[in-house]
């Protein structure tokens, strides 16, 4: 309803709607620029830290491994951390882009389907009731929480006749998130030990290891493939439900694909790195600002831009309080929020 009214009343001028880049050539050019920035940030992420490593040594450490201290730091710590950052960044950005396109709500983030609330709640159960303490065993709790919660939210959102509409999915996510959050907080408050563990569960890339990364990799891969496959039907959905059906896009199938992809991507990130906000909310806005409303371009840019934001936040977290570190989950809001506020102060927020 609201979307239809928007289209009728304030249809933006042609240039405004198209974003900053008007032709596919310019979009391709900007994508190359973004990829260049991405490579630079990756090298920085490997080189910068409590011990700075010069660029030449970074290349040597990556391609001609010799058993020096610096090479060991690169291969054992910085490289897996950077790989984790890239995977999580892509997952967060993609799930944000998908959920914003599906709900056509610029404020939607992956947390809106209850993914983070569910992961947190199951973590509380795992620590408080079953006494697990190591992060590796808790990955499965967090992941199961994300999946179960999304299923419940989808069930409530699609109860009664007809398919789940985006508005009802959103409201159901808010409601379930509130219930789980309330009960989870209550449980932590009657048990100081659980409280202490949960207090430290802040989104972080600081303790990466390859076995954990390999554990989530299958879910991540399926999620990314589904996300890319959903780009075209989402373009049709953006025209309105009736028109999308008339163009031959299956609404129900698109929604199911998107919900599954978001759950896999956001769930695996929450499981391995904890709750990281703002990347999923912000990056799709920036991508839309550059390329306009075509989901295929938005998704391509998101895949490059989201890891840049996450890695930059991680680097800032490493050097802001040397020799200590700030968790990336704390830094993303400080890096991202000013950009979001600037975007909101533009004359027209990038419409969906």
């Amino acid at each position: 309803m609201a979307a239809v009214a928007d289209m009728a009343t304030d249809r933006p001028a042609e240039g405004e709607r198209g974003g900053l880049a008007h032709s596919n050539a310019t979009r391709g050019f900007w994508l190359l620029v973004a990829i260049g920035a991405f490579v630079a940030v990756v090298l920085l992420s490997i080189g910068v830290g409590s011990r700075n490593i010069p660029l030449a040594t970074v290349f040597d450490g990556l391609f001609h491994y010799a058993d020096t201290d610096e090479h060991a730091i690169i291969q054992g710590l910085r490289l897996p951390r950077t790989v984790l950052g890239i995977l999580c960044g892509i997952a967060l950005g993609l799930s944000g882009a998908l959920i914003q396109a599906l709900t056509r709500n610029p404020l939607a983030d992956p947390g809106i389907l209850g993914v983070n609330a569910g992961a947190t709640f199951f973590m509380v159960l795992g620590i408080g009731l079953f006494g697990f303490t190591t992060l590796s065993s808790l990955i499965w709790f967090a992941f199961a929480g994300a999946v179960v919660t999304t299923l419940v939210v989808y069930a409530i959102g699609s109860s009664g006749r007809g398919a789940a509409t985006p508005v009802r999915l959103t409201l159901a996510g808010v409601a379930i998130g509130a219930i789980l959050g309330g009960i989870g907080t209550g449980l932590t408050m009657i048990d100081p030990q659980t409280f202490n563990a949960m207090r430290h569960w802040v989104g972080s890339l600081a303790s990466p290891n390859y076995p954990d990364i390999v554990t989530i990799l299958p879910f991540w891969t399926v999620g990314v493939v589904l996300a890319i496959a959903a780009a075209r039907p989402l373009n049709a959905v953006a025209l309105g439900e009736d028109l999308a059906a008339a163009l031959g896009a299956s609404l129900v199938r698109t929604r199911v694909i998107v919900v599954v992809a978001v759950t896999l991507l956001a769930g695996s990130t929450a499981a391995i790195a904890g709750p990281i906000g703002f990347v999923g909310l912000m990056v799709p806005h920036v991508a839309r600002w550059i390329v306009g409303p075509d989901q295929r371009w938005i998704i391509a840019f998101t895949i490059v831009l989201a890891p840049i934001l996450l890695l930059v936040s991680d680097i800032v977290g490493r050097i802001a309080m040397r020799p200590g570190e700030l968790q990336v989950g704390i830094v993303t809001a400080f890096v991202g929020a000013p950009v979001l506020i600037l975007l909101a102060r533009r004359r027209k927020a990038s419409g969906l």
Binding site: R161, T188, P192, F195, R199, I330, A337, L340, A344
Partner: protein, 355 residues
Amino acid sequence: MTIAHTPAVDFGRAVRIVRIAGGRVAERIDLRTAAVCLIVLAFTAVVAVWTLMTGDFPVTPGEVLQALFGEASRRVEMVVVEWRLPRVLLAVVLGAALGMSGAIFQSVTRNPLGSPDVIGFEAGAYTGALCVIILWHGGYYEVATGALAGGILTAVVVYFLAYRQGVQGFRLIVVGIGVGAMLTALNTYLMLKAQLQVAMTAAIWGAGTLNGVGFDKLVPASIAIAGLMLVAVFLARPMRQLEMGDDAAGALGIRPERARLALIFLGIGFTATATAAAGPISFVALAAPQIARRLARSPGVALVPSACLGALLLAVADLAGQRTFAPTQLPVGVVTVSIGGLYFAWLLIREARRK
């Protein structure tokens, strides 16, 4: 045999007009809304008496009434009037304040998800309180002052960041979310740096709690809220007119930007008082106006029914928080979130069935 007669014409809602002082003051009173308010208030009274009865020292309903009228034994009177009464009264008063502030923000942002959170107030208040608790180890009044200062400062910053030739609802929401996210990150950082015991104290305050409330805390909060309600009487009508859109409201003789600013200040005043007295209690402001709207079947959110439902919600939540895990007392804010969320989910399912 008579045939059930349904009128062919819909005469609208049953309304009585009350005139005071020879018609100089007149008010239209919607009968269904009035009935809903009275019933909700009656429920609130029942819950209040129930709360006065229960606890480690059980009291009969008769003894409660005797104690309230000053005719019970010294011991019963101390338990009921001095220990339990201020807490119940504060729950009712703060619930009403939160309900009204929710109604104001939902009306101003024209969004059923609008609440004082939107303008970043509660995140800012939490930051202020955390600074006082963790950095200065302040007591009740210092924490309340810190929360007020943090909340109001944040709200002012959000308002000015969102101001560009007037404040538009959508931009206010986005800016509020951005500022709120930064403050939430800061709060997480402060919690990580604190010692466990201090952090738990801070977290309980942060959830909103009525534990350990006495008359000394009830009286200032009640006076502040009574004053704000007096202001609300004069702003209720501009709020209705603003809901019709800025142009229509301007044509009806009010200045939209000024009225909106006054309403936002009033809403913040209510929330600020409640936050200073008991911490940031969430979800009452969000849920009360929506529940009231559905019970009264009114077209928009309204102040008085929202206040009544807020009072009932907070009274019920506090009773549940005291008794569920007794003797451990849950912060009331934790209970309001769970109850509010359950209600929300139930409402969604029910609406789906009906369609």
